[in-house]
Assembly symmetry: C2
């Protein structure tokens, strides 16, 4: 699969986050017209991401957010009861959407070697599509409440677990070399994270996500798979 194909298949994730955020927080949001809420949540989340990436969530003021989103301070507080809640809801819903997409794509493949390739590709393609969100999410995880932070860490561990299972499966059903699957999954994940944490570096070097995916596969193959 190429990124261009993936990009066409995948739905509008931004809007999904907003709609899900509305549905799960209807009781807390004072505004009632669904269309309006979804539209304004979009403005709020976009602005949060933009400012948050630039100077961090803590340093973002509600006045900043008001200015960039185009909503007044008063309006913002009829969607969220606190600044902290914006972060919690945004990152929480994003995490759910991401998990859904990852699971949907990766479950399709049967052979371990193909599942490994697909997992690497889908992970990279998804982080390419939502690079800013992933970056922001990574950097701001520590500012979440301990309960939410725990969930965030767990989400990362699940991704790693998925790679570990593919590796164990490959070792058992043949074709994969014997190695420590936990550590291997861990460093594969580190390579994938570099793509969204250092996006600008790769852009400057004109490395396309398809090229990076191929490279990562070429790198891990001689260690993981008999040839």
């Amino acid at each position: 699969m190429k990124y261009s194909e993936f990009d066409e298949i995948i739905p509008d994730l931004k809007m999904d986050i907003c709609r899900k955020a509305y549905l799960e927080n209807r009781d807390k949001i004072r505004i009632k017209k669904e269309e309006l809420v979804v539209k304004n949540l979009g403005k709020i989340f976009d602005a949060t991401l933009e400012i948050g990436i630039l100077k961090g969530f803590q340093a973002m003021t509600m006045r900043d957010l008001s200015r960039v989103s185009g909503l007044s301070m008063g309006a913002l507080y009829s969607y969220f009861s606190s600044k902290e809640q914006i972060l919690t809801v945004y990152l929480g819903q994003g995490r759910k959407i991401i998990r859904e997409v990852l699971e949907r794509f990766i479950m399709e493949e049967a052979l371990p070697a193909e599942r490994l390739r697909t997992a690497v590709q889908v992970h990279l393609f998804l982080t390419e599509k939502m690079q800013e969100f992933f970056f922001f999410s990574y950097m701001e995880a520590k500012n979440l409440s301990s309960k939410e932070r725990e969930r965030s860490v767990q989400g990362e561990l699940n991704t790693e677990k998925m790679f570990e299972e593919i590796l164990v499966d490959g070792q058992e059903s043949g074709g994969f070399k014997k190695q420590n699957p936990t550590l291997t999954a861990s460093v594969i994940k580190a390579m994938l994270q570099d793509w969204y944490l250092k996006r600008k570096k790769y852009a400057k070097r004109n490395v396309h996500v398809d090229e990076y995916a191929d490279f990562v596969m070429a790198f891990i193959t001689p260690f993981c798979i008999h040839e």
Copy 2:
């Protein structure tokens, strides 16, 4: 080399940072007794690191810093003229010390394969020894002034460049497989960064830094070196 050996050879880096910070900022620091300044800079930097890791530098207040460091607000401001300056001086001096140590250890080796192993080990050992500093430095780089942030990015690129040079050298003088040295250096660095960014995860799994170093070498060897 084992981490335990490295740990014994290496000087007291914390104190080096404080002493260097004093020497380069004598004009800006209102206190004049060297011994006293170095001691109090130690308290200030330790407290900054402790609070900064917990909730981020932006969220740390000068009152927090006063409480944890044991110095009054007034005293803090006779060492630094602003909160921002504490970050700039601390990260800047840390970066210099780190570069010195890296260069000193890695220049010793002659053969590319040995230099690669040493570079991996020294990098991991250094980040193990100063894990909190590296973590903090990574997370707070975006809060630096644009000039200082540029230096920070450049520091990372230099590390990568070092790996790239070892790889190119190995390819030219034989023994290393032909591959893209820039991308290879990039993912090696990603694996090394994971060690200090996810320190707690590895601690929970009882993975020692020596084991991780061996694993990283085992992982990159079949891709980089003819066997």
